[in-house]
Amino acid sequence: MSAREILKDCKDRLEERDPLLKAFVATSWKRAEKKARSLDEKRARGEELPPMAGVPVAIKDNIARLQDTLTCCSRFLQGFYPGYSATVVEKLEKAGALIIGRTNMDEMAMGSTTEKSAYFPTRNPHDLGKVPGGSSGGSAAAVGGGIVPLALGSETGGSIRQPASFCGVYGLRATYGRISRFGLVAYASSLDQIGPLAGDLQDLWLVLSQISGRDSRDSTTFDSEDLKRSGDNFDPRGLRIAIPREYLEQVEDEEVLERMIEVVRDLEQVGVIVEEVSFTSPGRALAVYSVIAPAEASSNLARFDGIRFGPAPEAEQDWEAFITKSRDEGFGKEVKNRIFLGTVVLSSPYRKEFFDRALVAREEIREELHELFKRFDLVLSPATPTPAFSLGAGMEESLEKFMSDILAIPGSLAGLPAISIPMGLNRNGLPLGLQLMGPPRSEPFLLEFSELVKRESGYGAEVKLEIDREAGK
């Protein structure tokens, strides 16, 4: 197949499905077609093709790309062109990928449902009445809905793994510093990571190897020469897997627990040793996260002042009033709430009680995980306590939304790699997900173990190739 044919197929699928899914907020077909043509010409000339030649990829709307708008699905950034590309975008383009568009997200990556987008909510490809998760909900729906094989999302505290789990695809959060954040609009810089979502583990390997590595523009990155597969010698016998009791206590959905146990049995069959352990309550980690993430966000989002970009209220003479009005007009409620919360926890009467304590607790959690990985190769748990919930669920389900990231958060705080992998559908046809978390830089092992899980359990990505138009009505 030529790159142009692949692209044409992708475009057809998008035109057919995206009106239902609402996964995309912008497309860039012309540039993708130009790129596809040049790849086809290269191939016709018999030249060697780059590793991702002709692979259609979608990127989340908080990743900068030259000539694209960068809106983070916020009113604030309507019409904003950053004029530069994120390092990951440069790398994807160099690898021959066809970037076809930008995906929906919760405004400024704050949310777990993609309903906080300033544009529109995205729907779950497995049930159009359910949310795709978030904040990378557009990327997860685009992959789970079969529009693209690969998409980039971003995580702060579960924003890749949770939607991947809700949409039945693979989602990887890499070790903090493996993938450059240059060009990713910051939410909470000490937690943010870009990561891939894919319908196939091989694709996850491929994209990870292409976008990783030290970047002079992001001083927190490290060399990624360790990303090598061990080949066919992967021997699961004697591998030690920990399941934190406290994680399971967060899971009330019986089907989620049963499915996980079923997968664990399969693993035990091939010699993996699984042990239940005790670990800091994820509730504590969530509390720490709920202080640190908004605190950093309040600072990261201070640049949105209406002076260089964003709403510029004409009537205001006084600059303080100008900035206030600009931010009031540009930001949605969730973003304002988090900025407010973050400002409070850093302010003098409260910072000792909140921010300073949270920093200490974060170190303790990091240390505890470090100790755990001295004894175990992996930590295993469900990816989320429940499958996807209903769109516009309102108040009664708000706690559920809040808690849907809870199993992802301890690893985020410690900067550890973790993957969300599909484990089939529940009785209502909604995907269930399993989470594997490893020590720093253990991505190759995580991916190889994921292949083992797939092989032994028989569960793979649940990509919807037919979407029932009636379901969403």
Partner: protein, 469 residues
């Protein structure tokens, strides 16, 4: 009741470091570029951009911290200082709050040892220009590397504060880390001042004076503030903690804001920059590489070369001039060299159109009697104008001084022979008549005879005639 007032002053100095590019991006630091041309997504705070630390800025700041005898944090870190201002692109300034590069240093000025609380790196903000109704912002300055130097409140008078800053500026210039130009804002100074009656170290209610942009402003503003606070205290009033500005035309300080409404900067560690770790040995190599401090150099000249203080002050005040003197003093007698430079070269830009070797040559010729002092000065002047070397000028002008005794004796005899009347005047007691005779001799030699030798010989011959008539 009388009581003794003590003035307590501390300074905060901001210095733009002399790097080619900004502290967190590769934009030029060129001061003269048109507004908003030295900018990029990073220094404009574009969403998604990230800082990458300029290592040159670290080295320059380290040089400053080491020269100020600071303890150095092998691991220092960056923090965010959060506040909104139109010329602050990111809504926060990256600075070093929790772990500065240098701390607990000191700087000796004469008898005074002034403590240095901290020396840290940070980024400059943009510049807000008020243009009538319009407000314009130039982001060229945003991201220029700054070093902040905070002194302990060890200064006790406005004059001492000014002198301290003068000496500090001189040191910083010698270190080559900043242009230290107060007018252009590459050196900016704020001062904290309080008055106390007891022996306490800091007055509780200190007043901060912002943007004192000349040495004069510093002394005057502090003087004014000292008097204002004394008057308030005498009247039994409390001094409010506040930030004040200095009005240069009215010569008054004025209220900018009360400390009660002070900003909470919500400092926290900058997550985008890793801990700044200084390599083993770097601090030592920076220390080894320090130039001799101007204050020490001056003392050495006074001690070893017996140069007058009045002259060393002048010589030290420009590094190029001081270096020029140092070289000249190694080729000619140092005291002579100091005198010649102070008297003849202070109004010139250094390095001047004459080399230390050439000046040394002139001085030595004068000392050897080859040139008279005033001829020497003429030669120096011509060197500066033409760029030619002294030997060539002397040759071209035919200014070689003749000290040949036979020649001078013939010259003197001829003058005595041709002016019998004047000789008689001298012999009859008019001592001054000798001046005319010497003048005649010099004229005959076209100024080339060594005037000292002419004088000696003339006097001897005349005295001989007097005695043996």
């Amino acid at each position: 009741m009388s009581c003794k007032w003590e003035t307590i002053i501390g300074l905060e100095i901001h210095l733009q470091l002399k790097t080619r590019s900004k502290i967190f991006c590769s934009c030029s630091t060129d001061f003269s570029a048109p507004a908003n041309t030295n900018t990029c997504p990073i220094c404009l705070g574009w969403p998604g951009s990230m800082p990458a630390l300029n290592q040159k800025a670290v080295l320059l700041a380290l040089r400053g911290a080491v020269a100020l005898n600071c303890k150095i944090n092998r691991e220092s870190s960056f923090d965010r200082k959060n506040y909104f201002y139109p010329d602050l692109p990111k809504g926060f300034q990256i600075t070093q709050y929790f772990r500065p590069l240098g701390f607990e240093g000191f700087f000796q000025v004469g008898e005074n040892k002034v403590g240095i609380q901290r020396v840290h790196l940070e980024e400059d903000a943009g510049k807000t220009i008020y243009n009538g109704e319009e407000v314009e912002i130039d982001y060229n300055r945003a991201g220029i590397p700054l070093v902040e130097i905070v002194t302990e409140p060890d200064l006790v008078s406005p004059d001492q504060a000014r002198d301290f800053l003068r000496e500090l500026r001189l040191l910083l210039l010698y270190l080559g880390i900043s242009d230290c130009n107060m007018e252009e804002g590459s050196l900016r100074c704020d001062a904290n001042i309080s008055i106390s009656t007891g022996g306490e170290k800091t007055g509780e209610n200190q007043v901060e004076l912002k943007n004192l942009n000349s040495f004069q402003a510093i002394a005057r503003a502090l003087e004014y503030e000292q008097n204002r606070q004394k008057a308030l205290k005498k009247g039994g009033e409390e001094i409010a903690r506040e930030t004040r500005g200095w009005d240069t035309t009215e010569e008054k300080t004025f209220l900018l804001r009360s400390k009660e409404e002070s900003v909470d900067y919500r400092y926290f560690p900058e997550p985008d920059l890793p801990v700044l770790v200084l390599e083993e040995g770097l601090i030592d190599s920076v220390r080894m590489d320090l130039p001799e401090k101007p204050q020490e150099r001056k003392k050495r000249w006074e001690r070893e070369w017996k140069i007058e203080k009045e002259e060393t002050e002048v010589l030290i005040s420009q590094q190029a001039r001081a270096d020029f003197f140092e070289k000249t003093a190694r080729l000619a007698p140092p005291r002579e060299a100091a005198k010649w430079i102070k008297e003849n070269l202070v109004n010139f830009d250094f390095p001047p159109e004459i080399s230390p070797e050439e000046l040394g040559d002139i001085i030595n010729r004068v000392r050897a009697g080859e040139l008279s002092t005033s001829r020497g000065k003429d030669v120096l002047q011509l060197c500066l104008e033409s760029g030619k070397n002294p030997a060539r000028i002397i040759q071209e002008k035919g200014w070689t001084q003749v000290s040949d005794e036979d020649y001078i004796e013939k010259l003197v005899d001829r003058v005595l022979e041709e002016n019998p009347g004047v000789v008689d005047d001298y012999l009859s007691g008019k001592d001054k008549a000798i001046r005319f005779l010497i003048g005649q001799a010099m004229k005959l030699s076209q100024g080339q005879a060594n005037p000292g030798l002419v004088w000696d010989l003339m006097e001897r011959k005349l005295e001989e005639r007097k005695n043996y008539g």
